[in-house]
Homo-oligomer: 254 residues x 2
Amino acid sequence: MGQIGVQKVPILLSVLAPLEVKSAEKNEAGDTKSRILDAAEVLFMEHGFEATSLRLITTAANVNLAAANYHFGSKEELFQAVFTRRLDPLNRDRVARLSAYEAAAAANHQAYPLTCEKILSAMFIPALTMARDQERGGQNFLRLLGRAYADPAPFIREFLSSQYAEMIARFRAAFGRALPHIPREEVSWRLHFVMGALSFTLAGTDVLKMIAHYHPDEVENDELILKRLAPFLAAGLRAPVGSATDEHQWFNEA
Amino acid sequence: MGQIGVQKVPILLSVLAPLEVKSAEKNEAGDTKSRILDAAEVLFMEHGFEATSLRLITTAANVNLAAANYHFGSKEELFQAVFTRRLDPLNRDRVARLSAYEAAAAANHQAYPLTCEKILSAMFIPALTMARDQERGGQNFLRLLGRAYADPAPFIREFLSSQYAEMIARFRAAFGRALPHIPREEVSWRLHFVMGALSFTLAGTDVLKMIAHYHPDEVENDELILKRLAPFLAAGLRAPVGSATDEHQWFNEA
DNA sequence: GCTCATTTCAAACGGGCGTTTGAAACGGCG
DNA sequence: CGCCGTTTCAAACGCCCGTTTGAAATGAGC
């Protein structure tokens, strides 16, 4: 009866309790909470937030319907839990990798500042590592992430914004140093475009499958896709900035 | 009683009927069908497909709930009607503009093939014209479009895919001619990235407002944003393709 | 073996959903 | 006017939703 209203109690107690790993006693992998998170990750990715019901999730996870509300409080909090589980470590890895690159470059005076390619690889390699690791969600989570970027629900936007704040600030600063001849504001916009192309690509929007006459084995391999995306983005980041006179070239001719 | 089952009847008859423009006799602009489309366009953009109810739409449009099903058949068909009304003319404009550029360039032998910038402007200018025209949906529709790209609902993906097929084929061919030294498959992927960055940008995902320290007047002005996006994309399209040896530069270093 | 906090469970609650219905209102036309 | 196809309307249908409830099961510690 005392489960709601003190939502974190189950979590805290399971931490304080002695570490009993209990092998795998349930039919599926993991305990109830993990099974819910795993099922929710896949179903949110496939159908979106609104179209995925708690009944669908708990049925797929083979747990009771009420377990979702018991462990996570609400559907929104479950959605956020799905993200924090993966996104927090991912962005920590990205920042750590960028810091490692910068430290190594600072030691070797010639290599500072970092190139755009090097900074992009600090963004991409952790994502690729995750995509290759089925136990960390594989490509499911990256597709979910790409789609969440375009979701209009306010709580999703605010949540992602807060989750990304630190990482974005670090990478904007790095790109600013890599592109000293480009105005800071332009760098900000280009970072925006980079995130857009990246999330759109990771989301795997089959809408535009026809755009790329891909080989079937490629679309299942994020690594090959990102190897195509990275040179594209690096060149865009380094592009000369459009001047006021370019305006006519772009938008005012006959 | 005979309204369902022959969904197009109201449309056909209104065409066959004598042209009575009837000024503006309703309190809001347009007839019932247009008012539903206008309200649906805004609400789908703000909340997405699943989270927008027909009751919300018909209330905002000041029409009876049943009018939505009477005129459009179902919620899905209403959604598609919202898109065809804007997207069909938009993509027709794009293809027509590209054809006009190609015809003009063919007359002037020096200017063939078109530059990437010219091809991109054939994609962007019609979108900008629409964004500036409040009577054609303004920026609302473009944001809706950007978000629909990432929507997982199968009927949305299939619908957009069919709506874009012709335009994409034409532009892929144009980019292929503009970039003869780049493999066709690579061009396809880069067109995919272009569409991603474009739709992500048009969707105006406030999630990443913090990425760009934008001036408030800029975020409301798609024209300025696209002027930043176009040079970025043109440079990416022209980027040297990553070779097998570049692989190590990107993803296998320490 | 009893206690008691934690977790699971079946059932229900209230409400919003897309859609359908049948009657009423409208409007051009013989 | 009376007809009849078209459109509007209030009401309802059946369904699924997120959440809550209170009891049953569980299991470690005294």
